[in-house]
């Protein structure tokens, strides 16, 4: 399975580069990512600006890196929070059944009932604009799918004979959940987490678009892609392409890593992997 290993290495490499870029570049390069230079408007990629410049002459490479920083923060934190909360809620509901299940699931209904963007708008509107309200608004609205997916899996798992064996061995409900049920649903939850990252990135830009997210001039990948639409129609491709790649490439790398992780979680796939 050489190609799998190769894919994994590439993913890991890209992720390492991304983390490095996000942490180091803003410290190492003392340039202002917001520096406007009307004279250098919409320059195509070249020596001075490897990724070109945008509509007010800001350097796209620098903005991409800064944007990656903000977007990854928003995406990863929101995805993590949503996944952890969703998995916990789903697993508890599924494993315990009865009234905890009903209560939790009605809570899920409650949160799903208010359209996401609407809930997001309110959450963000209640606070000053900034990163954390955005993260909160994305997290608050996105644990629901995970919770339901996890619960369904748990419901199906909990009648397996090996759960009987655990019960007979004296395992508490909690232990059954943590030791036997959760590991089995982790692949599903992990998939949701990875999908949530790019989703959160654009969700953030949608909020910004409505004036409720990050200030639109602050570099975030979603904002950049979004505001580059006009240039794209005018034939200037670079303001779209580079931020777009900056969203997609780390997402794919993350997906690659998560895929390998899920394969390791699955005992059968695992024994077929030779790492």
């Amino acid at each position: 399975m050489g190609s799998r290993t190769r894919a994994l290495r590439v993913s890991a490499g890209v992720m390492a580069a991304v983390v490095l870029a996000v942490l180091v570049v803003p410290l190492a390069v003392p340039l202002d990512e917001q520096a406007v230079d009307l004279g250098a408007k919409l320059l195509p990629p070249g020596a001075a600006h490897p990724f070109g410049t945008d509509e007010v002459g800001r350097d796209l490479l620098l903005r991409c890196v800064y944007g990656l920083r903000v977007s990854l923060l928003v995406g990863v934190v929101a995805a993590l929070v949503a996944t952890v909360v969703g998995t916990a809620a789903g697993a508890l509901a599924g494993a315990f059944g009865g009234w905890p299940d009903r209560l939790l699931m009605r809570l899920v209904d409650l949160f799903s009932a208010v359209p996401h963007l609407l809930l997001g708008i309110f959450v963000v509107a209640l606070f000053r604009p900034g990163i954390w309200p955005v993260v909160a608004s994305v997290a608050v609205t996105h644990w629901l799918s995970t919770a339901r997916v996890v619960r369904a899996e748990v419901l199906s798992l909990r009648s397996r004979p090996y759960i009987d064996a655990a019960v007979s061995g004296g395992a508490s409900r909690w232990r059954v959940t943590v030791r036997h049920l959760l590991p089995a649903v982790l692949p599903q939850a992990g998939l949701a987490a990875v999908l949530m990252v790019p989703h959160a990135i654009w969700h953030e830009s949608a909020l910004s678009f409505l004036g409720l997210g990050l200030p639109t001039h602050r570099a975030s990948l979603g904002n950049m892609v979004n505001s580059a639409r006009g240039s794209l129609l005018a034939g200037d491709w670079w303001p779209t392409l580079f931020p777009g790649l900056f969203i997609i490439v780390p997402t794919l790398a993350l997906a690659g890593l998560a895929g390998a992780w899920r394969a390791r979680l699955n005992p059968r796939h695992r024994s077929e992997l030779t790492l």
């Binding site: 009987d164 019960v167 007979s168 061995g169 395992a171 508490s172 979680l265 005992p267």
Partner: protein
Amino acid sequence: MLELRGITAGYDPRDPVVRDVSLTIGDGEAVGLLGPSGCGKSTLARVAALLHRPDAGSVVIDGEPARGWRHRAPREQRTAFGVVFQQPRQSADPRLRLRDLIAEPLRATGRRAEADTRVGELAPVVGLSAELLARRPHEVSDGQLQRACVARALVARPRWLICDEMTAMLDASTTAALVGVVEAYRRESGAGLLAVGHDAVLLERWCDRTVRWEPLTRPFTVSRGLRPRTPGPQTPDGLNTVPVIRVTQ
């Protein structure tokens, strides 16, 4: 004493599998339960192990009636039973290595410290090498997995053993070896045993007493009778015989 009193159990309250069955196992006694396939032996075994709530009747463990089932049963009552399930593949968590599978009851009951030594003791006895202990269920044969399940049943030193067709997928030598293991454990701990099986020769050799589950003549009037829900295909309909609780030895 483990007493099953007037157990009626099944999966549909209108049509129970087991009807009004009573069975008593004395301290340290080994009871074999024989019966046609599909008659409800496993169901009864699950009731006895407090894993399945009967529709009626009670389970009394050492004079104390079971207060709940599954998680609702107090942990001491639950862990008084070591259960070997009929199908090892289904009763092993596919994610656990055999070592963890065996140690799980100890870990689950907060006896972590004992786990390693106990697994170390049991593994050679049931015939599992260190190499096998490091594998996961799908990487071992059914027989090897069943050995791990036997070890799991013994690991927490239960007072009662319930073995549902423990040896069905084992060869004669392994059967003899595992029965030896169980018997050695019983000698040492004085545990009682309910062994469910089809192999009359084996059960009679192994157990103090064998109970045979046979078709009823008068379906609903015998209170201490054992009756199969479905007349096995081997029993021509209508040709029912008297219930027998035959005691050997």
